[in-house]
């Protein structure tokens, strides 16, 4: 499908496509109720309760008042619907804000200020500097004479550097006035989500005759949510609008996330439902038999003669209703309530407030905190997530002299400063390259401060550093560069710029010193690209060593070199270069060849080392979470080298001789397949050894692997605890998440940029860093934190507690419902299988809603282990992963407990209140009190730490139980009139309750004690250790591990020099073809120092 955008055509053609209204809302006013109800009823539990509630309307079969189900049901639905409506309203408000923003648009030939939502396809939109692009545009004109403009695309792909966009040749040089009247047609594909590709054609209509169709690429577009920078104005034709923009298409509808706990609860509910059906069938059959054999003889019952349907339907349905309480209706409300409290605890946490910006963490999605405690894989973005995305010039080596050391930067090194004072020529040249060997644009503000607009943060760091070292790059006007050095102003003329390509790995400028007229070639680039081209007479060993040393410190290195060119040589070469530049065939190759003819015989000046500053605590965070059994994948849009470099410096792949870093590369299917198989084989071999392997894959190979070898790649994903994926697109990130999810792992994606949004939405848990790249990720994410290191606390403290608490709360909810249900079932056996309810409607409802819900709700304050202990022993997270605290076998324990307690309550109350005391209401209250007392003690026993609130809730609830029942007993109209007063006056009632509690809790307490002391789980051991006072354990093995980056990195030894990190590559290069390989089969050994649960082990344990 093609779409045609007619430029400036205000006629009917505009109506073909939608306007620019953005809509992220889920509901409209009209469809809210049906759609919301439909969604709520898609959950099994809700369907079940609706069915039960409807059946209860049939008086023939209902044992209790229908209000006891309808009331809670309507309440639950109202709560969820209100919450949904509120969320959707907030989305509506933010959409409205974006839609009503005013932009300059040409309508009917006149430039007008209209609301962004009224932009139609074909309109020309005018933007000023720092404006946000309201929809996808094809650039038509800019303030720049050469038709260039700069955009910041961080909202789109997360890259913060500026990118150049260029006016298509056909429109080049058209006057701004004329642009308002321009007519033409743009042919482009139907909207898609690929933000790196755009293939369109432009044809202008007379009077702008241009017979040729002008091809358009992504370079000619301005995409929605980019910002126009460094350009006075720009204008473009709207081609995709509203939700049909590239961003809108890639936004994807976020599916509501269901936590593993929710899924397990649904599963358990299903199991209970099946159990219930079995019980109902058994009781139904028994009921029919009893009716036929006994009931007819019980003359006082006056059993009527009914049709056969009666036996088949009514009796089982009665039991169904009697057993319907088996599935706790309160569980959803309780869970929603505690989940929102978990979220609040995250919001409130002082320890997750960033002290610089004073921004607290925030849980946007309040429903999935438990999943945080179950994370098995973390997929992390690199730039801005692990690093601060702030490049800082740290050290340099000039002419064999090392500047800067552990104690300080090169910038403050007195030796370097004095070398600058004295005017050492090498140092000055070095600084000159730092200052002008780039494409940086200085912008002088009104107050005189100079700001640099750099395409890559590396260049920015270099220019900044040079400025601090007195070499101030002041101005770039056309080809003239102005530099101020020690108060002197120097002018250079840029003769040629030899741009960076990933094959050449270097960039050069040819400049002429306007004072002396001398011509120089200034080059900077990767060491392996520069050093071999050095002048034969120069010793480069010292630079090799410098590069080695710096990269071991995790710094990004660049080599600087220069050569003076003779005028003749330059002129001769410049002809070749110009010719190469104008060729149409193989231009890139021809240029590279031309460059090679001049980039030789360098005099190497030195090496610079730039730090992409890691965020505080990243290595520690990764190490801690590794110990917690979480696997890390790094997904980055960056180069392989940079990624590996950062991975090394933040413990991601920590270097020691027993690990391996495996490459998956190749440009064709075959190559990828071979390399994939080889890696897989290595992985399989090494899993038996205590050796950790990580693999590295780039976007291109990943594309092929995902397309053709998905199974092999999935196998690999299961085997590998660590992976680095470079140059991946946002949708590939999402695909990787999808793969891990399909293997039934709980995934957490963390990122900070717009390019991470899809991954964040795809993952089970999305965490956004609200950092320098704006708030896109934070907005889309379930949780937003300010610093990567808060992740530890988010997972180990909040996630773990939430999971533990929910695991208890949900199983307990089933337990208490089963308990009362079992009693009802047992009672059926002594009530002639007739389906009489022992308890009255009020008691049943209050039992679910009050008596048993309130004490357990305070389990949200329970802490099995203190935060410090958990932080010191992150391994304890193991119990949370793979649902180890909430699964069918733990549930079986609770099921057994409820059965046991039901037997205890039923037997004791029936026998103690036999004969003359067996009055129905009284017996029912005895049994109910027995249940409520047992609940209180069960909660007490399962609580690990008692705060005042817990005591209040547990014991206060008991008091409330009596208060409430006294109140009911005081009402003459209620069925329970005087019952409770009578009971409480009888000593036998209290003896019965006392007996029930002890008989019910004694064995469980004894068992717990036995397990706790003689079969302790690791949680128990830590609890004991923590509470015995004393120092918490000898943590020798854990503490003795090297913690700091420096120490670990210093042990790094990389076998192949190729893998060293030649880092200079601007981040801006759009073509996915510019990957580089690390050499065939480039495996290099790394070590994992982390605690290692082998993959095999963790799989096995998952089944436990």
């Amino acid at each position: 499908m093609k779409r045609y955008a007619y430029i400036n055509d205000d006629g009917s053609s505009q109506e073909l496509y939608r306007d620019n209204r953005i809509s992220n809302t889920k509901y409209t006013l009209l469809n809210f109720l049906p759609k919301n109800l439909w969604e709520q009823f898609s959950r099994f539990m809700n369907q079940y309760f609706l069915l039960i509630a409807c059946l209860q309307l049939w008086p023939l079969i209902t044992p209790v008042n229908p209000a006891s189900t309808w009331g809670p049901l309507i309440f639950i639905f109202a709560v969820s619907a209100t919450k949904e409506a509120w969320d959707d309203y907030n989305r509506y408000v933010s959409d409205k804000k974006a839609n009503e923003r005013e932009v300059w648009v040409v309508k009917n030939g006149i430039k007008k200020l209209i609301q962004a939502q009224n932009i139609r396809v074909g309109n020309i939109v005018w933007l000023r500097e720092n404006d946000e692009v309201p929809c996808d545009l094809v650039l038509m004109g800019t303030s720049d004479a050469q038709g260039l403009c700069y955009v910041e695309t961080s909202a789109l792909d997360g890259e913060t550097d500026l990118k150049t966009r260029v006016v298509p040749p056909a429109c080049m040089g058209i006057d701004a006035e004329l642009l308002q009247k321009i007519k033409g047609v743009i042919e482009c594909p139907s909207p898609d989500r690929d933000i790196r590709r755009f293939d369109g054609n432009l044809r202008l209509f007379p009077p702008f005759i241009d017979t040729d169709v002008c091809p358009l690429t992504i370079k000619n577009t301005l995409l929605q949510t980019c910002y126009l920078r460094n350009t006075e104005w720009a204008c473009g034709v709207a081609i995709y609008t509203g939700n049909e923009t590239k961003l809108g298409m890639s936004r994807g509808v976020p599916e509501p996330k269901l936590t593993a706990v929710d899924a397990m609860i649904d599963k358990l509910t299903g199991a209970i439902f099946i159990f219930q059906i079995v019980v109902v069938i058994v009781l139904g059959v028994a009921g029919n038999i009893w009716k036929d054999t006994e009931a007819r003889k019980q003359w006082y019952v006056k059993y009527p003669d009914e049709g056969p349907w009666y036996e088949l339907l009514v009796i089982p349905l009665r039991f169904e209703l009697l057993c319907s309480i088996m599935i706790p209706i309160s569980i959803k409300v309780s869970l929603d309530l505690v989940k929102s409290l978990y979220a609040k605890f995250i919001d409130w946490d002082e320890k997750m407030i960033d002290q610089e910006t004073i921004t607290p963490a925030h849980a946007t999605n309040t429903a999935i905190s438990e999943d945080l405690g179950q994370v098995e894989y973390i997929l992390t973005d690199k730039t801005g997530t692990l690093t601060e995305n702030k490049m800082i010039f740290r050290r340099c080596c000039i002419s064999g002299v090392f500047y800067g050391n552990e104690s300080g930067d090169a910038l403050k090194d007195p030796e370097l400063l004095s070398a600058i004072e004295t005017g050492s020529p090498d140092v000055i040249r070095f600084l000159t390259i730092m200052a002008i060997g780039n494409a940086v644009i200085p912008v002088q503000s009104k107050i005189g401060a100079i700001q640099y607009k750099a395409l890559s943060p590396d260049e920015d760091a270099l220019v900044q550093a040079a400025a601090k070292l007195q070499m101030i790059f002041v101005d770039r006007t056309a080809n003239i560069l102005e530099i101020r050095f020690n108060g002197r102003t120097i002018h250079y003329e840029v003769l040629e710029t030899l741009e960076f390509t990933s094959d050449r790995k270097k960039m050069s400028v040819v400049i002429k010193d306007n004072n002396t007229g001398k011509i120089f070639l200034l080059t900077k680039g990767a060491d392996e690209a520069i050093l071999p081209c050095a002048d034969a007479g120069q010793q480069t060993r010292i630079f090799t060593e410098a590069v080695e040393q710096y990269s071991q410190l995790g710094l990004r290195t660049l080599c600087f070199a220069w050569r003076e060119l003779m005028a003749d040589e330059y002129h001769e070469w410049s002809l070749v270069f110009k010719e190469a530049n104008s060729t149409l065939v193989d231009r890139e190759w021809r240029i590279a060849e031309a460059c090679q003819r001049i980039e030789h015989d360098f005099e190497v000046l030195g090496v610079s080392a730039i730090e992409d500053h890691l965020q505080d605590g990243v290595p520690e965070t990764i190490e801690t979470l590794r110990k917690a059994g979480i696997n890390f994948w790094m997904l980055t849009g960056d180069k392989q080298n940079t990624a590996v470099q950062i991975a090394l410096s933040c413990n991601f792949i920590s270097p020691e001789p027993k690990g391996q870093l495996l490459m998956i590369d190749g440009k064709t299917e075959d190559e990828v397949c071979r390399s994939l198989e080889r890696v897989l084989l290595t992985m399989r071999i090494t899993t038996s050894k205590p050796k950790d392997v990580a693999f590295v894959i780039d976007g291109w190979a990943l594309e092929i692997a995902l397309k053709h070898y998905k199974k092999a790649f999935t196998d690999l994903a299961i085997l590998s605890r660590t992976a680095i994926c470079c140059r991946v697109t946002p949708s590939q990130k999402a695909q990787l998440v999808e793969i891990l999810k399909s293997c039934d792992y709980r995934t957490l994606a963390i990122g900070d940029g717009g390019n991470d949004v899809r991954m964040i939405q795809q993952a089970d848990i999305g965490v956004g860093i609200s950092g320098r790249e704006g708030l896109q990720a934070a907005r889309a994410a379930d949780y937003s934190i300010c610093k990567f290191r808060f992740l530890t606390r988010l997972i180990l403290v909040h996630g773990r507690y939430s999971y533990n608490r929910t695991a208890f709360l949900s199983q307990y909810s089933f337990y208490k419902s089963l308990l009362i249900c079992f009693i009802q079932i047992f009672f059926s056996f002594v009530s002639g299988m007739s389906g009489t309810s022992l308890f009255n409607s009020v008691s049943l409802m209050a039992y679910n809603v009050f008596y048993t819900s309130i004490p357990v709700l305070v389990s949200v304050l329970d802490k099995d282990l203190s935060e410090e202990t958990v932080m010191q022993h992150p391994q304890i997270l193991f119990y949370c992963q793979a649902g180890r605290l909430l699964n069918p076998s733990t549930f079986a324990g609770w099921f057994g407990r409820s059965l046991f307690h039901a037997v205890v309550v039923f037997t004791i109350s029936l026998n103690a209140h036999a004969y003359e005391k067996s009055e129905m209401e009284e017996l029912s209250m005895v049994a109910l009190s027995g249940c409520v007392w047992l609940q209180a003690f069960v909660v007490t026993m399962e609580t690990n730490s008692f705060t005042i609130l817990q005591h209040l809730a547990i014991w206060g609830n008991l008091v409330a139980f009596y208060a409430l029942n006294f109140a009911f007993s005081a009402l003459p109209s209620s069925g329970m009139y005087t019952i409770m007063f009578r009971l409480c006056g009888q000593p036998s009632y209290w003896f019965t309750i006392f007996l029930i509690v002890l008989a019910g809790m004694g064995p469980i307490f004894a068992l717990k004690y036995f397990r706790y002391t003689y079969r302790p789980s690791k949680i128990n051991v830590l609890q004991q250790a923590e509470r015995m006072g004393g120092p918490i354990l000898s943590l020798g093995t854990i503490e003795s591990q090297p913690r700091t980056v420096e120490r670990e990195v210093s042990t790094l030894s990389i076998a192949q020099s190729k893998s060293r990190s030649p880092v200079y590559e601007p981040l801006l290069s759009d073509s996915p073809n510019t990957r580089r390989s690390l050499g065939a089969g480039g495996t290099f050994e790394f070590f994992q120092s982390q605690m290692r649960l082998s993959s095999v082990y963790s799989r096995n344990c998952k089944d436990n």
Binding site: G774, L838, K863, E916, S988, L995, M1091
Partner: protein, 340 residues
């Protein structure tokens, strides 16, 4: 969407104002008591329980044993030997007298309660237990509210008071007791709950159309006595939760001596024969715990004994195989270097 700079700054401002106030609750740092199950603690707890339970068990058992109880099953004995069809016999109209002799095993102090005990009688049956209308019983103006009383709601189109199966099947055996040919006064006063007489059964509600239909169930009520004074009905209408139950028939306010012989003149009217239900006459004294019921005492002794046993076992295990609590060597990641 606004300019990112302004958005960041505004949101920072907004968030600043939202900066939570520190409190122990919000930081989940409320002072907490974290009990730990040390052997000493657990063993003493079990010991304590057994020391409390065994005396209670003994006391309740004594209380139960102190109760003197005479139970006489008369359902089959009161059928003349020549009657083969018991059901037909009981359904025949007319008096069916029967004499029983009881011997007092031990001195019985007043008050002595006279109960009738029915077995295999399902007052808790679903159809039965709800077959009544409390409003009608309470309020004379509500005589026509018979909802829930089916099939005993109307008789020839007029409402039955009291309606429903429970009232309809009122127990109607009669006992008159005499000792040494001197009639023993069995008081029928105050055998029902005071609250029922005062609030559940109206003083101005009189039986109407009761047992006047084709099929007569159980007892007949005097239409001139208000329901609040029909104590037998009130007792009967307190449905029992179990198929075996006792209901109070009356009270004897004189002391019975050991070996006293009591003659009971029975009016055997109530049909339990069609469902093989037993009928028993019970004379019982009462203790502070109620009637004779050994269950509580035995259960207390059992639980107390078990607790004692557990305490012993735990003590032995603790002494034989002491175990250090919180020993880090139990942490497998400390123990197993291979995991590093």
């Amino acid at each position: 969407m606004e300019n990112p700079d302004t958005s960041t700054s505004t949101s920072t401002v907004r968030r600043n104002s939202k900066r939570p106030k520190y409190s122990k609750f919000t930081q989940q740092e409320l002072p907490a008591c974290k009990p730990i199950l040390t052997p000493r603690w657990v063993i003493s707890a079990f010991m304590l329980i057994s020391f409390v339970f065994i005396p209670i068990g003994v006391a309740t058992l004594f209380a139960s044993r102190d109760v003197v109880e005479i139970v006489d099953r008369y359902d089959s004995a009161c059928i003349p030997a020549n009657e083969t069809d018991k059901v037909k016999y009981i359904q025949t109209p007319g008096d069916k007298p029967c004499n029983r002799t009881l011997r007092v095993p031990k001195r019985m102090k007043p008050p002595i309660f006279v109960y009738y005990q029915l077995e295999n009688f399902y007052q808790n049956h679903r159809r039965y237990v709800k077959s009544r209308n409390d409003q009608q019983l309470r309020d004379s103006k509500e005589a026509n509210s018979v909802s829930g009383c089916k099939p005993e709601d109307y008789n020839n189109g007029s409402a039955i008071v009291p309606c429903g199966l429970i009232a309809w099947s009122l127990f109607n055996d009669t006992y008159s007791l005499s000792r040494n040919n001197v009639p023993l006064n069995v008081s029928k006063k105050d055998i029902s709950w005071k609250s029922d007489r005062e609030h559940k059964f109206g003083k101005d509600v009189y039986p109407k159309n009761f047992q006047s239909g084709g099929l007569i169930g159980g007892g007949i009520l005097d239409p001139n006595i208000p329901l609040s004074d029909q104590e037998d009905l009130i007792v009967w209408m307190r449905t029992a939760a179990l198929p075996n139950f006792r209901k109070l028939y009356g009270k004897i306010e004189v002391e019975l001596q050991e070996n006293d012989v009591i003659d009971v003149a029975l009016g055997n009217n109530y049909n339990t024969y069609s469902f093989n239900g037993k009928k028993k006459l019970v004379l019982s004294t009462t203790s502070w715990l109620g009637g004779k019921n050994d269950f509580l005492g035995i259960a207390y002794l059992t639980v107390g004994g078990l607790c004692f046993f557990l305490a012993m076992v735990f003590t032995v295990v603790y002494l034989v195989k002491p175990r250090q609590l919180g020993d880090p060597s139990y942490l497998s990641w400390n123990r197993n270097p291979g995991w590093h």
